[in-house]
Each structure stands twice: as C-alpha cells, then as structure tokens.
C-alpha cells in the first residue's frame, strides 16, 4: 500500500470479500434467498425420485405378475411395454431377472449387462434400483462355468459374448471411477 488510492482499493477489496462470504453463508438462512435460489441438487434429487417412481408405476404390472409366479406372462407384459419404452434400461433388467429364473442364463446375462450399460444405478450400492444382490451371486455361480465352456468351445460366438458380458458385470461390480 503506497498511497491513499492503494489503501482505498484494499479496503474496497476487503469489503467485497466480506460481502461474498456473508452472502454465501447467508443463503441457507435467509428466507427470501431460499425461495429464490435455484437448488439444483434438490431438483436433481426430485427428478431422480420421480424417475424411480415412474419406473415403479410403469413396470408395476410386471412385478405383480412375477409375484403371482407368472413369469411367462410377465415376459409378455415386458414385450408389450418395450413397444412404448424400447430404450428403457429397467425393462432390460426385469427381462434379465425373469429369464434367469426361467433358466435361460445366456440371454439373462446379456439383458442384465445391457441394463447396467444403460444405467449404472443397478450396480450402485446407494441406489434404490441397486441389484448388486442379484449380480454378485450370479457372477460367483456362472463366471467359472462359462469360462470353462468357452475354453472348450472356442468357436462359440454366444459363449464368448456371454463371457464378455460377465466380465463387464464383474468390472462394474468391482467399482472404480466411471
């Protein structure tokens, strides 16, 4: 600070800094600010909850049929819904779950891997959509078996694809940055 102008600038700068800190700190407590401020995090949370509710509502008939033990009808319901929502990951996931129960393992694994590719929430510990409890034992059960089968049938393209899907699921279950 060499002259009065420098001092003036310094004081104004300090005032700016105090004002910014004060304003930032005050946004949480000022009612008017709270009303006006765009809480993107809240909006994002609402959008996510809405999506989860939407999926629950859209696929409720499928879940209902599954609860009644009607897996075959549930698959038909999924076929019907896939006309309306062809790119929705949740349909892929449910199809994978049902096919797994019906014993069509390769197709089930393919649908589950596709679902995870489309929406990582299914391997997420914190998501209400998480299916880690389904995928973890599936990997433990199938990976070694499919690896062996693929080695025994090196020309089998479907087995190779299934193995690739299993490795993908294994990698996603292992975590890491996305």
């Amino acid at each position: 600070m060499k002259d009065r102008f420098d001092i003036l600038l310094g004081v104004l700068l300090l005032a700016c800094a105090v004002a910014v800190v004060g304003l930032l700190a005050g946004t949480g407590s000022q009612a008017s600010q709270r009303d006006l401020a765009v809480d993107k995090a809240l909006e994002q949370e609402i959008a996510y909850q809405a999506k989860v509710s939407f999926l629950e509502r859209v696929y409720a008939p499928v879940l209902e049929l599954r609860q009644q033990g009607q897996n075959e009808s549930a698959l038909l319901k999924l076929d019907e819904l896939s006309r309306k929502y062809p790119t929705e990951a949740h349909g892929e996931l449910l199809r994978g779950e049902i096919l797994l129960q019906l014993g069509a393992k390769q197709k089930a694994i393919s649908h589950l891997a596709r679902a995870v590719r489309m929406n990582g929430d299914y391997v997420d510990r914190y998501s209400p959509l998480s299916r880690r409890e389904l995928i973890d034992p599936l990997l433990a059960r199938e990976l070694a078996d499919v690896k062996r089968q693929s080695a025994e049938n090196p020309d089998s393209r479907p087995l190779k694809a299934t193995l690739k899907d299993l490795y993908y699921l294994q990698g996603r279950m292992a975590g890491g940055c996305e």
Binding site: L24, L42, A174, G176, C177, E178
Partner: protein, 357 residues
C-alpha cells in the same frame, strides 16, 4: 554419473513418491472409488460436474483432494518464497492442451497417476496405456529435441499467478458452504468419497510436497529418458509405484488380471492412444495433469490456463460422451483422441524452431 544419494532433494522426491503411493491406496480404502484413490482427471470430471459443466448425475462432487493439491502447493510456494507469477507462453495452445489432456485420460479412464495405481493393483489392461504413455513422452521429447518450443514464460506482476489459487479458494468455500447450484452426487462413483477433511488434508500435504520436489509422473519418465537412472524424479516415481503395490498387497486390494478390473475397459488399442496423447501433451507443456495443478498453485499462469482447459475438457468428455467406460471407448472418444493427436502434431509443426538452412 550416479544418483545423488547425499542430496536431501533426492530423498525428498522419494518421500513424495512414497506418500503419493500410500495416499493413492489409502484414499480408496477410506472411500474413494476403487483404484481411484488419486486420479486428477477423475477428480476434475467430478468437480466439473459439481459446478454444472456436465449433467452426468453420477459424476458430480467437488473433490477436496484437487483443491488441496493446488492450495497446498500455493502454501508451500509462499512459505518457501517461491511463489512467482509468470506466464505468457502460448496461452491458447496451453488451454487446448488442458482439454486434450483430459480427453486422453478419460478415454484411458485415469490420469498417469491412476495408471500406475491401477497397474500396482494388478490391472493388466493398463499395460497398453503404459506403452502409450512412454511412447507419448518419447514423442514429446523428440519434438523438444527437434526444436519445438512453446515459448518461454515471462515473469509477470504478482496478481496474474494468484488467480488459479483464488479460484480454488472459491471452490474450497463452495465445498463447505454448498450453495444450491453446486451438485453432489448421491449415487455412482462420485458418491464414493473419503471423509472430506481427511481428503483435503492429504491433498494439501501432497500438494505442498509435490511443490517442493517438482514431482511428476511423466516428468519421471522424461528424466529417465534424458538422464538415465541418475534422475531423482524417476526414483521418486519408482518409490510411488512400489509403495502403492506393497500397500495394495498388504491391504488385499491387489488383484492381478485382465478381466473384472474396476474402472477399466478392454479397448486396449485406445488405452494406448489415449495415453500416447497424454504423454506427448504433458512433455510439450511441461508436466502431467497433477504437475499442472501444482505449477498453477505456485503462480504459473500458463499452468493455470492448462487447469482451466482441463476443467473445460472434464465437462466436455462427460457431456459429449467422449469418456471411456467399462463397456469400452465410445466412437466420439476415439475421434477426440485422433483429433488430439492431430493437435499435438500440428503444434509440433507450428512451434518448431528450425535451424536456418
């Protein structure tokens, strides 16, 4: 000549490498994503998302480590009277270099530090990335030897070097005040985080020690190629890898193999090209992404521009589907890497000082 073992600086560099390796594994154990205890590009992608530069709701978190790296460097530089504002060397190419650094990293899934953390954890898919990084450093060095020079940075008035640290002070403020426009993921890899104060503390410590030692992963490889085994940075780098490997082994996170590795893909060729881009850009602009943060912290406005470019790139790789995922490298990622390689080749052409015929 031999490694100067009596020089305390050599030991300091090795200490820096050791701490980086230790922190890299420990931060993952404390909550950061697996094999991503320290990853500058991942942290930048998370932070860019937190600031609204992309809308991937699974990749939004202001990583405290990142803030710590810059501010730790600033504190060390000020404390040891090394804070100097300098800049003015090819600003726009540096800004774009920052963008392409993150493009290369995101296609590989990780910065050079993460490459070695992944490798030390047994992830063999990184091997082509390693080859690419070495190739990139070699290409960059060839360029420098052939007369490529972005121009010397000039000492500037004190203010210009302050802006990057000030930006990170603002981010630090955001981290604690959490205004409504800053986003924090509640799911996905960005929701996996070490406790805030521990992460910040480790970031500050690593930032400070990296400022004192000039620690840099690509710098270690570069010095090895120039100076051979007497290069302290190379030994620091080796200690980093060794410590990460040993701690990983001791804590049970070492799982060797090609398949099922966390945050990895099997597009090995594109891992190679991604890291080739990172290696060559790093040598041309004088350091890997981590080193750019440290330099920006000590007043280097040119590095500050690289950091801004990295933030921009971090937003773009997510918004434009450039970043590689466990499913592989998207076509836009491949195109972006090829454009990045063209960018580096053009710069090698444009900035080459040719001897008069």
């Amino acid at each position: 000549m031999r490694l100067a073992l009596r020089d305390p600086h050599t030991w300091l560099v090795m200490l820096a490498g050791g701490l980086l390796g230790l922190a890299g594994v420990l931060l993952a154990l404390l909550g950061n994503p697996q094999n991503s205890g320290i990853c500058v590009s991942c942290f930048l992608e998370n932070s860019a998302g937190a600031l609204g530069l992309h809308d991937n709701a699974r990749m939004q978190y202001l990583r405290p480590e990142l803030i710590g790296f810059v501010l730790g460097s600033t504190l060390a530089a000020v404390g040891f009277r090394e804070f100097t504002s300098k800049g003015g060397s090819a600003p726009l190419p540096r800004l774009l270099s920052g963008v392409f650094l993150i493009i290369g990293c995101s296609v590989f899934i990780g910065c050079p530090i993460k490459l070695f953390l992944r490798l030390a954890a047994g992830d063999l898919t990184t091997l082509t990335g390693l080859l690419g990084l070495v190739g990139g450093v070699w290409l960059g060095l060839k360029g420098l030897a052939a007369g490529v020079d972005l121009g010397r940075a000039k000492k500037q008035r004190d203010g210009s070097g302050l802006w990057t640290p000030l930006l990170f002070v603002l981010l630090l403020l955001f981290l604690f005040v959490r205004p409504g426009f800053v986003l924090f993921s509640e799911r996905g890899s960005a929701a996996e985080a070490a406790p805030l104060l521990i992460a910040l503390g480790i970031g500050l410590l690593l930032g400070a020690i990296a400022q004192r030692t000039r620690f840099c992963v690509t710098g270690g490889l570069r010095d090895l190629m120039i100076m051979g085994l007497r290069a302290p940075l190379f030994w620091g780098f080796m200690v980093f890898v060794l410590v990460a490997f040993t701690v990983g082994l001791a804590t049970g996170t070492f799982k060797p193999g090609f398949y099922g590795q966390p945050g990895a893909h099997l597009d090995l060729l594109w891992s190679f090209f991604g890291m080739l881009l990172v290696g060559s850009v790093s040598v041309l602009i004088g350091g890997c992404p981590f080193r750019q943060l440290i330099k920006a912290g000590e007043g280097d406005a040119d590095a500050g521009l690289v950091v801004i470019g990295m933030f921009l790139g971090a937003g773009l790789v997510q918004a434009w589907q450039i970043a590689g995922t466990a499913a592989g490298v998207p076509v836009y990622g491949k195109i972006a890497v090829v454009l990045g390689l063209a960018f580096i080749l053009l710069n090698l052409l444009f900035f080459r000082e040719r001897a008069a015929a």
